[in-house]
């Protein structure tokens, strides 16, 4: 069974067809690449997927259940979590607090709990803290736990965003251009992190410009062009597809 199944997704903004009949599937614990030229609708697709926008048409099924369209928090709690192209960490909170926020949906402490500060609540809080520290270590930010997120380097903020997303306990992690603006070494580190996340049983859907980088990572690639699905297949198939080469690889690619 597919983990994520998006069928015939369309989205219009004031007469501009941003997405037209886009379909995509992700199998459990697999890595799928989503590529396409600038303005092809990749980020819009992510926004529809994660509930920031509501699709005009189409269905989204996640682990056999329909995804609650347009409700980001419920989608996140269902196990589909994202990062953002223009990094959106909570800039004034510490790195640790950022990750602790990620645990919100998995913890229970309510108003009374906070006021009474019972032993159960204290235990929960301790577990969140330890879990967050664990995750920071996992992405290589253990030294940065007390740093204010906004002051971290670009690459560190990207990894912090991933740690925060992992804290929600996702089954599918959607990364929006995780290596944009990174150099070769950093790209290597990110690839290694992505493979480790997959090894932990979490599927990934990755938007990327750099086809060569994504091709070495993922099992399947979907190509978007002008808001429509252009091709779908293994990296080798995609790289050999003449339509893709014309639409996308024909342009000078960077990286």
């Amino acid at each position: 069974m597919n983990l994520l199944e998006a069928k015939g997704i369309s989205k219009c903004f004031g007469g501009v067809q941003a997405l037209h009949n886009v379909s995509l599937t992700v199998e459990p614990a697999s890595i799928v690449g989503l590529i396409g030229p600038n303005g092809a609708g990749k980020t819009t697709f992510f926004n529809v997927l994660t509930g920031v926008y509501r699709p005009d048409e189409g269905t989204l099924t996640f682990a056999g259940q329909p995804l609650p369209a347009g409700q980001p928090h419920r989608i996140a709690r269902a196990g589909l979590v994202r990062t953002f192209q223009n990094i959106r960490v909570f800039p004034q909170m510490s790195a640790l607090e950022n990750v602790m926020v990620g645990f919100h949906g998995r913890t229970r402490c309510g108003l009374l709990g906070a006021w009474l500060n019972s032993s159960a609540v204290r235990r929960e809080e301790r577990e969140i803290r330890e879990g967050a520290q664990e995750l920071l270590k996992w992405v290589g930010l253990q030294e940065m736990a007390q740093r204010v997120a906004g002051t971290l380097s670009y690459g560190a903020q990207r990894r912090l965003e991933i740690a925060r997303a992992l804290a929600t306990g996702p089954r599918l992690l959607a990364l929006d251009e995780p290596v944009a603006g990174m150099n070769g070494t950093e790209r290597g580190h990110m690839a290694e992190l992505i493979l480790r996340i997959r090894a932990a049983g979490i599927a990934l859907l990755v938007i990327e410009h750099d086809v060569r980088w994504i091709a070495q990572l993922c099992e399947r690639i979907t190509v978007l062009n002008y808001g429509q699905g252009l091709a779908e297949g293994t990296p080798a198939e995609i790289q050999a597809n003449p339509q893709v080469i014309e639409a996308y690889l024909g342009h000078p690619s960077h990286g």
Partner: protein, 348 residues
Amino acid sequence: MIACPPRFKFPWMLLGTLILPWVIEGLLGRGWVRILDFALLSVLLAIGLNIVVGYAGLLDLGFIAFFGVGAYAYALLASPQFGVHWPLWAILPTGILVAASFGVALGWPTLGLRGDYLAIVTMGFGEIIRVFLNNLTAPINITNGPQGITMIDALHLGTWSFARPHRLWGIPLPALVGTYYLFLLFVLLALFLSRRLEYSRIGRAWMAIREDEIAAASMGLDTRRLKLLAYALGAAFGGVSGGLFAGFQGFVSPESFTLQESVMILCMVVLGGMGNLRGVVAGALLLAFLPEVLRPLGGWQQHWFHRVLIDPSTLRLLLFGVTLVVLMRWRPEGLLPSRARAREWHTS
């Protein structure tokens, strides 16, 4: 960089606040103890508004309406208006519930919208409540219109009335000092509850929403519910303060609940430092005493110019306005900011 709540210097501060009314009465006279009592109610209000503005980052310009709702709840349940005389322990929870429901009812339609809409809707709401208070006299006379409700029962617990002097272990306890202790109890409770929240999972979630609502929702935070919670809690604190106000003053009328009062509370929160309890308390005390400090100005003007050129109450409101503008321009984090909030204002 919050790991755990910073520790209060508890015993000393508590001792100070306990002897404060005696010192004030000795130095400045009984009138100032009354002012101090009212100041504590302002502190309570400011703590409530701080939850909404400081923690959750939602601008509420009609906060005084919740104070009004609480005050009228007390007035209607303990006065000859309907001939009912409920005890304090029954009125306050009712007032809290009513005020909190108003908070939810008001917040609900605006939650999906941008923050500035919320500001103007709350502002309108504050005025509308006043229109109702002024006009709900027919078909049944509920609010008694602009005259307001008088002869409200004094604050009392069982047979202990806070409007009368008592004698405790041979020490005379003036009524105003007794009231001070009652209000202080509420303020301390509010501080405690507020502080526990600030350093809890909920406080962290509010902070996240304040910083980036879309990212917060994408991490599984039910932003609508959390914002409503902030609204309801803030309103509840306002309701308690209003109830105590009605019982203390003995009468209520719509004129106590104007936009100017809402702006004053906002000013208290902003002046001390949004999101920081110490700052909020300091700001509230400072501004609650301001009218008393300005009061002699009228007399001085009379003496020097033989007429009052600048009415002290106009001057006070003018100062509130100037304070807000100047603070936002040069010290948006307030006089005693929380560290996180100071960073926020200065890096963006």
